[in-house]
């Protein structure tokens, strides 16, 4: 599907989602509670068929976390960016999509490792790079006391 066609289709099927304009790729922002249901629909629907999860990551906006999913359909060759905001900055958590895309098992582990975002329903949520008692380094308020050189803007 072309971009406009895809956005119209998604608007019809996901009335709760918002669609920002003037973005490089088609984007869809869904409420955090809906992500599992939306992802299931995106993957299993024949017209959408987003079977390839390119990347799953997060961004720390200081007052909220945004989890970003880039996905592509290998059948229709269209791309979509799905985002969801987590407003709880203290105990961030969101539903897992690892049951749909096995690659998400490891991407979610990475996000948990670096941001401390918990994925509900993930069967193997362990740290990936860091030690268990290390902080969450990609958070903006992270500070490492052992750091010799200070990186500053």
């Amino acid at each position: 599907m072309q971009r406009e066609e895809l956005t119209d289709f998604l608007k019809k099927h996901f009335p709760d989602a918002t669609f920002p304009e003037n973005t490089q790729l088609p984007e869809m922002i869904v409420p955090a509670g809906d992500i599992a249901a939306v992802a299931t629909e995106l993957k299993t629907s024949k017209d959408l068929a987003f079977d390839y999860l390119i990347s799953l990551t997060a961004v720390d906006y200081k007052d909220k976390f945004t989890v970003v999913y880039h996905m592509e359909s290998t059948l229709h060759r269209h791309l979509l960016v799905v985002k969801t905001d987590i407003t709880d900055h203290e105990q961030p958590a969101v539903d897992t999509v690892s049951t749909l895309w096995p690659t998400a098992i490891f991407h979610e582990r990475e996000v948990y490792d670096l941001f401390g975002i918990k994925f509900n329903g993930h069967g193997d949520l362990r740290r990936l790079f860091m030690d268990d008692d290390y902080g969450f380094p990609l958070r903006k308020d992270f500070s490492d006391e052992t750091r010799v050189l200070t990186l500053s803007k």
Partner: protein, 378 residues
Amino acid sequence: MTMSEQIIIKDIIVKESDDYIINMGPQHPSTHGVLRLEVCLQGETVKYVIPHIGYIHRAIEKMCEFDTYAQIIHLTDRMDYLSAHMNNEAVCLIVENALQVEVPERVKYIRTILDELNRLASHQLWWAAFGMDLGALTTFFYGLRDREKILDIFDESFGSRLLHSFNTPGGLMHDVHPNFQKRTKEFVKYFRKKLPEYKQLLTDNVIFHQRSKGIGFMTKETAIAYGVTGPSGRGSGYSCDIRKYAPYSAYPLVKFEEKLQTEGDTFARYLVRMDEMVESLNIIEQLVDNIPQGDFTAKMRPVLKLPAGEYFQRVETARGELAIYLVSDGNKTPYRMKFRTPNFSNLFVLNEISAGYKIADLVAISGSLDLVIPDIDR
């Protein structure tokens, strides 16, 4: 184990207390870097494999948040050091697209030739090391002998052999050496003559067939589900070449085929890379005689500030899809930079495709995925 059984995705491994566990790595020669595989065995058969990573995690994504775009280029070399040029190019493309800079035609041609030379050098080293992993020492000497010719071309033009950092946002650091065209043409001619030797030595070798055929089956569905791209994915018939689907630089101008194998085993992944080497030579031949004259860089400001927004760029490295997701807040450093590296996704399919085979096959299977560990850890 049959192919149909392989489709069932064993997403979470169940450990039992009487499992017989051995550790492969972090200093095992066949892991090509510091990767530890926790292998559970039943006799000689692999029950499951758990990769442990992070031994060379250098926080590249965190460092990017404090570095300017010109500085970030030098970090990307150190991810997949065998695809240094493609990694550099990905950062350059994302910056150029964000600033809407049109790079000169000459730059596009040179970048594409260097991409393919880098891909060839990477595949040669893989071929050399893969043969050696399976006990064929001669391949290592043959592969490195020919790779040296490419590294000499790199050395002459940009003074470094492995980590180039030759791209800058807007173009190239400086123009290529006057000998570049001549030497590249000489190399293409030379390497076309050497490829039959590769075939004779390993591709047609019966012992090699016995070691690599019929093991490590990966179906197309498994490849897509785990996000396995590059030659490893194409060995399963998964058409995933970014050069075809989202062409960049001079790729829209050249004719080439995306090489696919449908078998999905270790030998199929081997064949894809062997075919890709020929395709790379074809691409270089189409471009090297037609490099347009002109500037080696577009006019750029000394300090680059990307407009606030989000950007996405994909390139095809020697191992698969490298995607960069960049969030800019209008400053000279990115707010967040995510590298979706091909090896990260390619590694984690290992348990899925090696369970049920012998431990000696595990070396062949992981070798056929062509992993570069710093790219996984970042």
